[in-house]
Amino acid sequence: MMSQFAAFDLQVSIGAETLFTVFGFNVTNAFLTGLVGVIITVAILVYVALSVKRGKYNRFIGLVQWVFEGLLNQINDIIPDKKLAKKMTPLAITIFFVVMFNYWLSVLPGLDSIKVNGIPILRSSAADLNFTLALAIITFVTVQMYAVKYLGVFGNIRRYIRNPLKNPVGAFEGALEIIGEFSRGVALALRLFGNAFAGEILLIVILLLTSYIASIVLPFFMLFELFIGFIQAYVFFVLTLIFTSLAVTHEEPHDKQPA
């Protein structure tokens, strides 16, 4: 058995690996798979939208509509302001579908086995920090944008910076809020990356451990990964909404409240 492990050349790279370069831009395996994931997402959503527009229905369209409706209800439940909920809908729903389909691409057969110049072609973009960090930055910026819109520039700044002489506890609270904002963003990016990356490694390790019976054992882990993909997409989606909701409904510091 150990000889089998030795024979299998397991190389784990935290970062996505460059497949080729176009005009100085490094096209990585995760970027390429991510592109496929985005195309699948767009194709499914456009197909469903066109079918709905033409009044054609089938089980698949019904399923996507059902998920869409569930997400809409969730958005309206988390964000009480209907106008803001409507504005947040495209971002939140796109995050959910793109993350889910990209995560699910990590269970495609050929993971870490189809290689070009020793580099695996398939790597879920959810297992690439560039993608997860991009989503976290977009979420962070969006939250700040709506916070400024709803609380005003100074109102938003007052969430973080308060006069330490007048309100030392509030000033400390503000400092913690700044750390909290950054840690939320970093946690968003790292949580998704960690789960997707660990999922891919888990599948490779199970493949190594089970050897010839891998084709019987792996499907169970693949199903598990599909479930985790759905959960991670949902968590990212919900956290985006919660952070936005928290930012726009921020309470004034206690010293500002009337006695």
């Binding site: 790279s13 935290i14 970062g15 996505a16 831009f25 490094n26 990585t28 970027f31 991510g34 985005v38 767009v42 959503l45 456009v46 469903v48 939208a49 066109l50 709905v52 527009k53 509509q65 869409f68 409706e69 809409l72 809908t89 495209p90 971002l91 729903i93 796109t94 793109v98 690439d128 920090l129 560039n130 993608f131 960090l133 991009a134 989503l135 930055i137 977009i138």
Partner: protein
């Protein structure tokens, strides 16, 4: 110098994590473009269909509630009608029973009177027949007595002879009595 070292160390961390700033920026721009396009051309149709479906469900629920309400009202009306109909039916039955009882008793009286009359008529007829029979018998007896008497006396009897004979018989019986 120290800052430069720190910057280099930071750059190394990002590089070792596979973070490529070009890639990151392109992904951010691409994702925002995707959100814009989907939000403008795809989601409105899906949201419209969801709204229509929810409106349909709400309308169906409303119609169901109204139908239930009207069904309850109808049920009450039907129950009232049924109660009224039962009441009327029981009244009709009791009236019919009374009428039938009256008819039966009237018919019985009539039948009894008719029977009595028939019996009375029969009695009267019988009495008449008896009287007539007695008369016929009396006449026949008289005739037979006359015939027998004619045979005994060998004489044709008429009204005068008959009177004389009766008178002599009466006188002989009186003299025997004395």
């Amino acid at each position: 110098m120290q800052e430069l070292t720190q910057l280099a160390a930071t750059t190394n961390i990002f590089t070792s994590l596979g973070i490529d700033w070009h890639n990151l920026i392109i992904q951010i721009v691409a994702f925002l473009l995707l959100v814009f396009l989907l939000g403008k051309y795809v989601y409105p149709w899906l949201m419209k269909s969801v709204d229509e479906r929810q409106a349909g469900i709400e309308a169906a629920a409303k119609a169901t509630a109204e139908a239930q309400k009207s069904a309850e009202i109808n049920k009450e009306a039907v129950a009232e009608l049924l109660a009224e109909a039962r009441k009327e039916a029981s009244e009709i039955i009791s009236t019919a029973k009374l009428e039938s009882a009256e008819i039966v008793s009237t018919t019985e009286d009539k039948a009894r009177k008719l029977a009595e009359r028939i019996a009375q008529d029969a009695h009267d007829q019988l009495d008449k027949d008896v009287v007539n029979a007695r008369k016929v018998l009396y006449n026949d007896t008289l005739e037979l007595v006359g015939l027998a008497t004619e045979k005994i006396i060998n004489k044709k009897l008429d009204k005068k002879a008959d009177g004389e004979l009766i008178a002599s018989a009466v006188s002989s019986s009186e003299s025997r009595g004395n």
